[in-house]
């Protein structure tokens, strides 16, 4: 990262190669759209390049990476333009409008159908959460960050992270776990 700060493009390309999957998957799970995840992941790496001179190795690089990724997700979800577009889109498209796009490379047709259905349900349920709950849940479930680390990334207290996760899990249980008879 220090080399990147000095303007070393080769070091930067290595850094992109190493972390692109993490950033892409996080954003993909946040928005549920592959195309959007690609664009926003690029935006994250462009920010890393722009702000690399300001980076100070006081904390882990991955924490800084998550902070930038979370900021891009927050900004995008709060964007007036995006909200208007999705509002208009909700009138135009019916049926499976909320269905996420799935990658083309799948193991077999049967697996693809099962996985796609499972992924669609999970992503839809996650997407229905408020942004902060969604962020906390993704950082905990898929990135396996501790509450302390999540609080540093989101910028809130540890107890607030706990509250966010409790609410997120309760809401997901209502959506994903079928009611008992």
């Amino acid at each position: 990262m220090l080399l990147v700060g000095e303007g070393d493009k080769f070091a930067f390309s290595c850094l992109v190669n190493r972390h692109q999957d993490t950033v892409f998957r996080f954003i993909y799970r946040f928005f549920g759209k592959e195309e959007e995840a690609n664009d926003l992941a690029q935006e994250v790496f462009l920010r890393i390049w722009r702000f690399s001179k300001k980076y100070k190795p006081t904390s882990q690089f991955t924490t800084w990476l998550y902070i930038l990724t979370v900021n891009v997700c927050k900004r995008e979800s709060q964007s007036l333009w995006r909200r208007h577009i999705s509002l208009i889109g909700s009138f135009w498209i019916s049926g499976n409008s909320g269905a996420p796009e799935f990658p083309a490379h799948t193991p077999s047709p049967e697996d693809a159908v099962i996985h796609a259905e499972q992924s669609r349900l999970v992503l839809d349920a996650i997407e229905s959460l408020p942004p902060n709950q969604r962020l906390a849940l993704l950082l905990r479930r898929y990135e396996e960050l501790s509450y302390q680390e999540i609080s540093a990334v989101i910028g809130c207290s540890v107890s607030a992270v706990d509250a966010l996760l409790v609410r997120a899990k309760a809401q997901l249980q209502k959506k994903l776990v079928p009611p008992k008879k």
Partner: protein, 177 residues
């Protein structure tokens, strides 16, 4: 990531867990391994004797498994090249950099402002051109024709039903008298 965990959640006081409602609020942190050892042993003791809370924690664990999202998506194959070409573009002329920073800060407002300025310019230019062509440089007869044609934009154009109605209304009081 290896940040120090610091103080564990709910590690401040010595717990005396007997109430299910207290346990339920702590189950999420308990399952995530974010409670202090004292709380952990208290909750474990409670769970050993409470089937409802056992069911609650089983549900939480099942939810965690259900959140497995199957196919791991991957970024585009040319992702790194795309990023590298963008940073090469960014190190271009200073003016373009300034524009990019501005548009990334205010994407929608900047676009709208540019569109409004462009619209005002085009509107002004077209209005001026039409006025010059049709009224100023035209013969008196052409001017009269143009003005008559513009009458269709009036609220009550001549010869329209609206004008007929107004004429009728203006006669109405005289008929009563």
């Amino acid at each position: 990531m290896a940040l120090a965990h610091g103080e564990k959640l709910m590690g401040k006081s010595s717990p005396l867990v007997t109430d299910c409602t207290v346990v339920r609020t702590k189950l999420s942190a308990f399952e995530d391994g974010e409670v202090s050892p004292a709380w952990r042993s208290e909750i474990e003791a409670h769970l050993a004797n409470c089937s409802a809370c056992q069911q609650a924690i089983t549900d939480l664990r099942r939810l965690w498994l259900d959140l497995e999202d199957g196919i791991p998506p991957r970024p585009r194959s040319n992702f790194t090249q795309a990023v590298m070409s963008k940073i090469t573009e960014e190190s271009g002329p200073g003016f373009l950099n300034w524009m990019h920073v501005f548009s990334s800060m205010f994407p929608a407002p900047a676009t709208m402002a540019v569109m409004v300025v462009f619209g005002l310019f085009i509107g002004g230019w077209m209005g001026r051109t039409v006025m010059e062509d049709t009224l100023i440089s035209a013969t008196p007869q052409e001017q009269a024709t143009t003005l008559a044609a513009m009458d269709v934009f009036a609220p009550i154009p001549r010869g329209s039903l609206a004008e007929g109605y107004l004429v009728l209304v203006s006669y109405a009081p005289q008929v009563k008298q």
